[in-house]
Each structure stands twice: as C-alpha cells, then as structure tokens.
C-alpha cells in the first residue's frame, strides 16, 4: 500500500503542467532519459515511483547558501555596471553639452554624424541659389506668364482689396 502526500508536488499523481525535457549534452543524463521514457504516471504504480526517484536525483536543488551566493554575485555586478555606465555618461555630457529649447531631449550619444555647416547645404528642401527662388511650372491661366506668380488684366481699374506696403 502506498501513501501519497498531496501537499508535496513531487508526490502528486499528475503534475499541474507538463514541462518538456531539456536537451542537454551530458551523456549520463541522456542515457537515463533514454532508459526511462516519460509517461504519464499513474497513482500507486511502481513505475511512477521509479521515475520520480530518477528525476529527483537528476536535478539536485540548489542549497540556500548557494542561492544567496549567486544573488550576492549578481548584486555586485549590477552595482559595478551602474557605476561604470554613470561614469561613461558623465564623461560624454561633460565633453559635449547639449541644450534644448524644446521638449525633445536627445543625448549626445544619439547625435549621428549627419552634420552640416551653413555654408554647405543648409536648406531642408532646397539650398542652391537657383532652387530658393525657383518658380513652379508655368500655369495655364489668364495672367500666368511667369509660372509661380502672375498678373491679371490691367485694362480696367478695380478698387483694391488689400495692400502691399512696408511693414
């Protein structure tokens, strides 16, 4: 007669979820896995007990002391990494102060190499002499003799609708 403790997860008849076996390069464990194929255990069967005992011996649990040592090691690395990152960032800021007049903040490290001096090619859409004053294609219209702008009929005087004056 076998007794199953339902509070112990290793003693449960069916595990709450199925985890596929992890492939490993260790030859001993690979042989064990081949010798004991995974099957859904049945309560009270000797086969399931054998399987449970072999699984328990294959993956030993880390002791509390070892776990604490790992955590301490991680903490040390985290603190060290933060200090190094902070130092690098401070050096970058000191070397290249970037102010901002808008809400968009960009760190110097993010500034790429697409730089321009005003005397080279400053314009967004056009930069050369001809392009700045370039007039669009000639429009087919009554007064469209010069493409981008045109005058109307000068034969009859009309009351002005607006003024162009020195501002």
């Amino acid at each position: 007669m076998s007794f199953i403790n339902t509070n112990d997860p290793y003693e449960q008849v069916t595990l709450p979820y199925y985890q596929p076996p992890i492939e490993r390069t260790d030859p001993i464990l690979s042989q064990q896995k081949k010798a004991v194929p995974f099957t859904t255990p049945r309560a009270g069967s000797s086969q399931s007990k054998t399987m449970r005992s072999s699984q328990a011996s294959a993956s030993p649990r880390m002791s509390k002391a070892e776990a604490l040592a790992v955590v301490r090691r991680c903490k040390t690395w985290l603190i060290g990494g933060s200090l190094v990152s902070f130092g690098i960032l401070s050096a970058l800021v000191a070397g290249h102060a970037v102010g901002t007049t808008s809400s968009t903040q960009v760190t110097p490290a993010a500034v790429n190499n697409q730089t321009t001096s005003a005397s080279n090619a400053p314009a967004t859409s056009s930069s050369s002499d001809g392009e700045f004053f370039q007039q669009p294609q000639q429009q087919q219209s009554q007064g469209g003799e010069n493409g981008g702008y045109g005058f109307g009929n000068s034969n009859s005087w009309q009351a002005p609708v607006s003024r162009s004056r020195v501002s």
Partner: protein, 330 residues
C-alpha cells in the same frame, strides 16, 4: 454682399492703425487681428470666415510664440541665449532656420539672419512700438555680418549651434513663411479662395468669384497704384516704417551685412512678385540693399517681377510687372 469684420487681438499696438476700408469681393468677408508685431488681414469666402480666421490666428500665434525675438520666453530667445552651444530645437524653428540659411546662401549673404547684434547696437533693441523715435548715439562700432556661414546644424536631430556671441532673428522671412503656411492650412481645410496679408506681405489662393483677380494697392513714396495680382505673392521692403534717429544718424531696420549699418541704397521701397511670400520677402529685401541697378539685375536673374521706388519718388519696374496698370493711373 460686403462684410467687414475687424477683431482686435489681445495685444494692442499703439501705432498700428487698421487701414481704411478696402473693397471686399462678392461673397467674401474680411477678418483682421494683430500678431507678429503687425496687422494680419484675411479675405475668405464668407461662409468660411470664422473657421479660417481661427486657423490662421492659431498659426500666427504659434509662430510668434516660437520665433519672436521680443518675447523673453520664445524659443528663438532661448536659442540666442544658448549661442555657442548645441541646441535641439522644434521642427518649426529648425525649418525656418534652414530656409533662412538657404536664402542667405542663395543671395551670397545679402540676406543674413545673423544681424541681430548689429540691429540692437543701432538701437532696435525692443519691439518697434516701444522704440523711442530719437535715441542717443551709440559708442559701439558695428561689424559686418556673414556669421551665418558658421551656424552648425544637424538635420537628423534638429540640432542648431550658433557661433558664440551671435544671435539670429528671422523677421521678414518668418512673416512670409507664416503667410505661405496659413494659405496652405486654409487649402487643406477645403478653402480654395483666400488672401492672407501680414503687414503688407501677402499671398493669394485662387481668385475671388466674379472678379478673376486680386487688385492690390502697392504703396510708393508719394502715391500708390493698384496692381492686379492673379496668383502668387507680393512683399514690400522699405524705409517708410521702422526708422528712428540715433544721435545724428537716421537708422532703419534694413541692415546691409557688408557694413553692419542701415542700408543707404537710394531706394525708398521695393515690391516683388513671386511664387510665394517667402521668396518675395527675401527678394524685396535683397533688391533694396543692392540699389536700383543691381537690384533690377538681381530680380531679372531670378525671373522675378518688381517695382523699385527711389527716394525721390520715381520708380522703375522689372520683369513682367504690369507697367501699363501704373501708367494708366497717371
């Protein structure tokens, strides 16, 4: 039906007087408000007046808030304070900066956005409405311009670095670009007939119903003419306004970058017709600085039409400018 709507802005400019009534084309209406130190006037189809005015008013308020050198909290003021440092700027400021630099390059530096220090030393150190008509002589010697060549920009991150101690101001080009942007916003709203006038720099969209052109009054020194604009933009630069006395010298705001002083070109004003207000504004200013002969040559070279009025009141037209309209008026 002629509708006239005059809506003053929040800020009152004491010396700005709304112009005398102008003709309003059939089916259209006018709105006016104050922004960027001048009067903004709109002509729109009557049914779109409120919506159109709201769009344009908002746009000009944003532009002024960003680009005014007289507002302590404007983005341009911040940029100028940080001259010598790399600064990430807004898309609007960056776009205007790029266009200003393109204009400087296209005009061999005659249009120069880096003359703010010279302008301040000549006495234009506050909004023109607050400027005293007579000031004491300055002990500073003005230096020539040209420092726009040392402005460093990085397009990918909208970074601008002004040379140390150099400040920029966009003045006319910003106003011209705002007019163009306002028209584009109206067009996107489905409005296909409009006129936007920012203190004399104007551009049109479509033609008014039943009239097929926009009669525009162009002011000379002693008289004015009505020029029929079909499409495009007008801008006028001159010394009729924004002039003051500094010591024994009469100063005005059109600074010649070759000397760092108010230009003495023998011209009273230059009006230019171009595809857009940005071009017209820059071309008018440069032609003014160059004087009659070189100014005419400059406009011809760029296929622009213009009217150059000299200090003695005589005038000269360039390109396809409709001389017949002026001669007919006598």
């Amino acid at each position: 039906m002629a509708l006239e709507t005059v809506i003053p802005g929040r800020h009152q400019y004491p010396d700005l007087v709304f112009p005398e009534p102008l003709h309003i084309p059939f089916g259209m209406a006018r709105a006016q408000f104050l922004a960027m130190g001048t009067t903004i006037s709109l002509l729109l189809p009557a049914e779109y007046l409120r919506r159109g005015e709201e769009i344009v008013r908002t746009l000009f308020a944003d532009w002024e808030q960003t680009l005014s050198r007289f507002l302590l909290e404007s983005e341009l003021t911040h940029l100028n304070r940080l001259s010598g440092k790399s600064v990430i700027v807004s898309e609007l400021l960056f776009t205007v900066m790029c266009r200003a630099l393109a204009a400087a390059q296209a005009t061999d530096g005659l249009y120069d956005p880096t003359l703010l220090n010279q302008l301040v030393q000549l006495g234009y150190d506050r909004s023109f409405d607050e400027l005293p008509a007579v000031q004491s002589a300055s002990e500073h010697l003005n230096s020539p311009g040209g420092r726009w060549r040392d402005i460093h920009i990085e397009r990918a991150v909208r970074l601008v670095k002004l040379p140390p101690g150099i400040n920029v101001e966009f003045g006319g080009i910003a106003k011209g670009m705002a007019v163009d942007a306002a028209l584009e916003s109206l067009r996107q709203e489905g409005i296909d007939t409009a006129l936007v006038n920012a203190g004399g720099d104007l551009a049109v969209l479509g033609v008014p119903p039943q009239e097929n052109q926009w009669p525009i009054e162009v002011q000379g020194k002693t008289r004015s003419w009505v020029i029929p604009l079909h499409h495009g933009a007008f801008a006028t630069s001159g010394v009729a306004r924004r002039r003051w006395q500094q010591g024994a010298y009469m100063r005005h705001h059109l600074i010649d970058p070759r000397t760092g002083l108010s230009a003495q070109s023998g011209l009273w004003s230059v009006t230019v017709a171009a595809a857009n207000c940005e071009q017209a504004e820059v071309a008018a200013k440069v032609a003014f600085l160059l004087g009659v002969e070189q100014g005419c040559e400059f406009l011809r070279r760029h296929f622009l039409a213009g009217l150059l009025v000299q200090e003695d009141g005589t005038w000269m037209s360039v390109g396809s400018w409709p001389r017949e309209a002026m001669l007919k008026e006598g």
